[in-house]
């Protein structure tokens, strides 16, 4: 298939005010999203935040309690899964164990009455794209985890659907394979040009794959943006704490002018205010420095990761982390002082957690 065809095949997706209740518990509190054709869109959030539920609503596997779902501006809220022209890769892969790899991949085509010659050709093409053309005669039970994952992927792309849904497709793979497959997946998506919605709770995966990320917290979308935007300007303290490893450091302080005073120590920040107030000050571990003047802290632990090191501190009530490429000439138990470059700070309202 040509790139042109693929572009035409990809759909835009929009959901409006989607609410999902299970009995008395509400798992989605009014979710709005607009996804562009051909976009690689990642739903990111902690466990139980409603990512899978949202994906299943897009697939039509889960009815909404309220709200509407549009594909290419057509209301599909009430359409059956089979009528939406979407393909999904499940976390468990959901391969049919009694069929061969070829039969698995060909199944979606067989179900719409494609002649068997065409099915065979399409199966070969899809299998080749994901690199399992040599495994067509096996059954899923005879495949490794990575090969099963590819088989599920091939079954999804064989029909050239308008929308791809992937629910943590890499979570069953080991770390190395996950990295490799991530790159391949990215290349494959670019090559196919199909709109893709990808669920993960792994922020690194989200950062590398996504055109845009929607961050879920407790059944709500708290931020939508490019990976860079979400990383550099998190909208809430939860998002800030969720994205980035090690997690962002937070301390309470009082902000006035261009200074945040933490435990009596004034720290310079770039943003300035004329309304003094209580804030949460966030600094990423990469931005923290050991300096002569700053917040006093005691080194609790030094982890040497080979190419970098992570130093943990206790500063009053708080525990902080610093990540650095070079090994600091310090040791556990040392008393040091910490600061950061003005501009590296993230300030959040102490009450609401909203970015200031």
């Amino acid at each position: 298939m040509s790139g042109n065809e693929a572009m035409r095949a990809s759909a835009s997706v929009r959901i409006e005010g989607v609410v999902k209740r299970h009995g008395t518990t509400t798992v989605l509190h009014g979710v709005d999203l607009a996804i562009e054709p051909g976009e690689f869109f990642v739903l990111l959030g902690p466990s139980g935040s409603g990512k899978t539920t949202t994906l299943r609503i897009l697939a039509g596997l889960e009815p909404v309690s309220d709200g509407r779902v549009f594909m290419d501006e057509v209301d599909v809220t009430m359409r059956e899964p089979g009528e939406r022209d979407v393909a999904m890769v499940f976390q468990s892969y959901a391969l049919y164990p009694h069929m061969t790899v070829a039969q698995n991949i060909g199944f979606p085509l067989k179900m719409v009455g494609t002649p068997s010659v065409e099915v065979a050709a399409a199966v070969n093409e899809a299998a080749a794209k994901v690199g399992i053309a040599h495994l067509l005669g096996r059954t899923p039970g005879q495949l490794s985890g990575g090969q099963q994952q590819r088989c599920a992927l091939a079954r999804a792309i064989v029909r050239q659907p308008r929308l791809f849904l992937l629910d943590e497709p890499l979570s069953n793979l080991d770390a190395k394979l996950r990295m490799e497959t991530r790159l391949e997946l990215h290349a494959l998506q670019r090559n196919l040009g199909a709109t893709t919605v990808y669920v993960t709770h792994d922020q690194e995966e989200a950062m590398t794959l996504a055109d845009r990320i929607a961050v879920f917290m407790d059944g709500r979308i708290v931020q939508v943006g490019t990976p860079r935007e979400v990383f550099s300007t998190p909208r809430t303290i939860e998002v800030a704490g969720f994205i980035g490893t090690p997690a962002m450091n937070f301390v309470s302080g009082a902000w006035s002018g261009a200074t945040v005073t933490v435990a009596g120590v004034p720290l310079a920040v770039r943003a300035s205010t004329d309304q003094p107030r209580e804030v949460k000050l966030g600094v990423r571990p990469n931005d923290l420095r050991i300096v002569a003047e700053g917040l006093p802290a005691r080194i609790e632990r030094i982890e040497d990761l080979g190419d970098s090191c992570i130093v943990s501190f206790a500063a009053g009530e708080s525990h902080l982390k610093l990540k650095s490429d070079r090994l600091h000439p310090v040791k556990e138990g040392d008393e040091v002082r910490l600061a950061f470059e003005p501009g590296a700070e993230h300030l959040f309202d102490a009450q609401t957690g909203a970015r200031l």
């Binding site: 697939a59 596997l61 899964p81 959901a94 049919y96 009694h98 979606p108 179900m111 039970g141 079954r155």
Partner: protein
């Protein structure tokens, strides 16, 4: 695999051998008896060596009170009971395993509870009910009664097979545009083939071996072979050799099925134990 512990395996073999002997003895005895003349049967002490005869088989197959029509009766009743049982049990078990509906647990318990009632308690109500609708001594009547206990049993046995299939597999099929029916046909049923085979065999054997309902609810027209064997037991005399020959004929399909489907049956008996022990 037990090479390291010769004693243990020897002891196990001995125990199994004794057990087997106890189980097999009546069958062997019956087999021998079926080739004896009526006089040899009554010989005391019993004779192990005798001149075998096929007279008994000739009599029960071609004689005046041939059991061939009864074998046919058994076959008709068992087959139709099995057919209808499976016809209803497969979708019912699927529903029980899958669909969410109120009182699901209660209905599951009911299905099992019917298995616990002693059948004797039901025989009179069944008799009266069948009499009311003119179902005594008819194939449909007896089949219907067999369904009342084979159906719950089959459903109960099949449910665990269906429950083993992950939900997502069906959802994948729905997204692949298979629809409910084709999902069942192409994705679900092939995966429960083993369960269907086991259940079919059990249901068939149960119906084939059934005696009590057959003797009360059957009659001159519908007389399964289990009942007909008693043709050879009368007030004046009991023709043990004929009974034995009839019994051997009646057992033949059971033994054949047993040999044929050994593996499936063992798996079915241990279905609870192996659940989840297979793939994934």
């Amino acid at each position: 695999m037990t090479g390291r512990k010769p004693f243990r395996s020897l002891a196990l073999a001995a125990v199994a051998g004794v057990g087997l002997a106890v189980w097999v003895f009546p069958v062997i005895w019956g087999l021998l008896t079926s080739f004896k003349t009526e006089r040899d049967v009554l010989a005391y002490p019993p004779v192990w060596f005798f001149k075998p005869t096929l007279d008994n088989y000739r009599e029960v197959i071609f004689g005046a009170s041939s059991i061939m029509p009864n074998l046919w009766s058994s076959l008709v009743v068992s087959t139709s009971a099995t057919f209808f049982t499976m016809l209803f049990a497969i979708p019912a078990a699927y529903a029980l395993a899958r669909l969410k509906y109120p009182a699901k647990r209660a209905s599951g318990f009911y299905v099992l509870a019917t298995q616990m009632l002693p059948p004797v308690g039901l025989i009179i109500p069944y008799y009266l009910a069948l009499q009311k609708v003119g179902g005594l001594d008819t194939y449909s009547g007896l089949t219907l009664i067999y369904l009342t206990f084979s159906l719950p049993f089959a459903i109960w046995l099949m449910v665990s097979y269906f429950e083993d299939i992950p939900f997502e597999m069906e959802e994948a099929a729905l997204l692949d545009r298979a629809g409910r029916l084709r999902t069942l046909w192409y994705v679900i049923l092939p995966q429960v083939r083993g369960g269907i085979a086991v259940t079919t065999i059990f249901v068939f054997l149960n119906a084939w071996n059934e005696f009590m309902f057959a003797v009360v609810l059957g009659g001159n027209r519908v007389r399964p072979v289990t009942v007909a064997m008693f043709n050879f037991i009368s007030v004046e005399q009991t023709q043990w050799a004929k009974v034995a020959a009839g019994a051997m004929l009646a057992m033949l399909p059971v033994i054949l099925i047993g040999l044929f489907a050994q593996r499936h049956i063992v798996k079915g008996l241990t279905v609870g134990a192996v659940k989840g022990g297979g793939r994934r």
